[in-house]
Structure formats: C-alpha cells, structure tokens
C-alpha cells in the first residue's frame, strides 16, 4: 500500500521535503523502505513512528487513511 509519511525537523531537512511516499503494510516495512534513502538512513535509526498522532511500535499496521509520521529525537524546551 502506498503510504505518505510526514517528516519534521531534521528528517524533513535531510530530504528537503515535509512528506515522502513509500510502500508498506506496517511501520517496520515503511521504515525499511525509508532507510533505502541515504539522506534518511542515519537519522532513522533513532526515530519512532506515530500513526494518527500516537507513538506506535514498528509492528503496527498501517491502514488506508492513517496519518503516518516519522519522529526523530525531539528537542522541545530550551535546554
């Protein structure tokens, strides 16, 4: 299934885009596809997936209409 994955922060900067389309049925499969992009591969190692705005494990299935995002390590606040 074709999935549009939302990108933010360092990942978005790495590919110069706010989203990317890949094939996958689970977040793990999406991760494997994204990792084929050399610009994304290094930051993906420490990234987590969110489906419909909640963190999920890589085993989580992705359904048509789901909002999928890859979340690299966050850095809110000031310190």
């Amino acid at each position: 299934m074709a999935i549009t994955v939302l990108l933010f922060g360092p990942l978005a900067a790495a590919v110069g885009a706010r989203s990317i389309s890949v094939e996958g049925g689970t977040c793990g499969e999406v991760r494997a596809e994204l990792a084929k992009n050399p610009a994304l591969a290094p930051a993906l190692k420490s990234a987590r997936f969110a489906v419909n705005q909640a963190f999920v494990a890589d085993s989580h299935p992705v359904a048509a209409g789901d909002e999928v995002a890859v979340i690299s390590p966050v850095s809110g606040g000031c310190l």
Binding site: A54, G76, C78
Partner: protein, 134 residues
Amino acid sequence: MTTSVTARLHPGALPRGLTLAETPGCGAMVKFEGLVRPMEGGRAITGLAYEAYEPMAVKVLEQLGRVAIEKHAGVMQVEVHHSVGFVPNHGCSFTLLVAAAHRKEALAAADFFIDEMKREVPIWKEPVYADIQQ
C-alpha cells in the same frame, strides 16, 4: 477534586506574564519559564527556530499533563505553553504552570512534566547562528 489540563502552541516568543486563575484549595503555584540563551555549543546565536508536529504536540502535552496529575496527588491544574517558529535570545519559548495543594507535589509534577516533555513531545529546535547569513 476537579483537575484541569491546558496545552497551547504560540507563534514566536511567549508573553512573560502568564499565570493561572485562582484555584480553590491551591496552596502552591509553580511557574517555570524556559528562556533562549544566546550561545549554543560555544557559538553565538540570534535565537532558536522551533518546529512542531502541531496536532500531536498538543495531544502529547495534554496527555503528559494528565499523567502528571495522576502521579502527583494534590496537583489540580497543569497549563503548558510552547512556542513554534522563531524565538529570539532571552525570549521565553516554554512556560509551565502547575497548581497544587502543597509545594512538594507542585515542584515534583513540574519536574516530571519537563523531563517527559523533552523526550516525548514532537517539537524540534534549531539554533539560528549569528555568524551565518540567513
């Protein structure tokens, strides 16, 4: 006991006068403000640029507020504000307000919330270096 959680994102620096309305039974109100320092990794910056996965950031901030209340008996209110976009040096980009019956749980809940926020909330910051042409 009635409790409440509020989470808001704001464009740019936050106002410095944020405070909570009077809460019956509140004996302690803790206010934390995170301020942008003018150096990052030994280099001068003009400020920090914040980016957020906004709908999820608000959801997670609200969830953390509810967890902070559950884990710290006596906490009545958690209100959090975070900047999105550019915040210049010395500006405030994060404000946390916690109201509780007593001091200990107010301080503990604030500390807990900030630790969790820095791990879980989808907000990223990038320094804007003073020595780079924008």
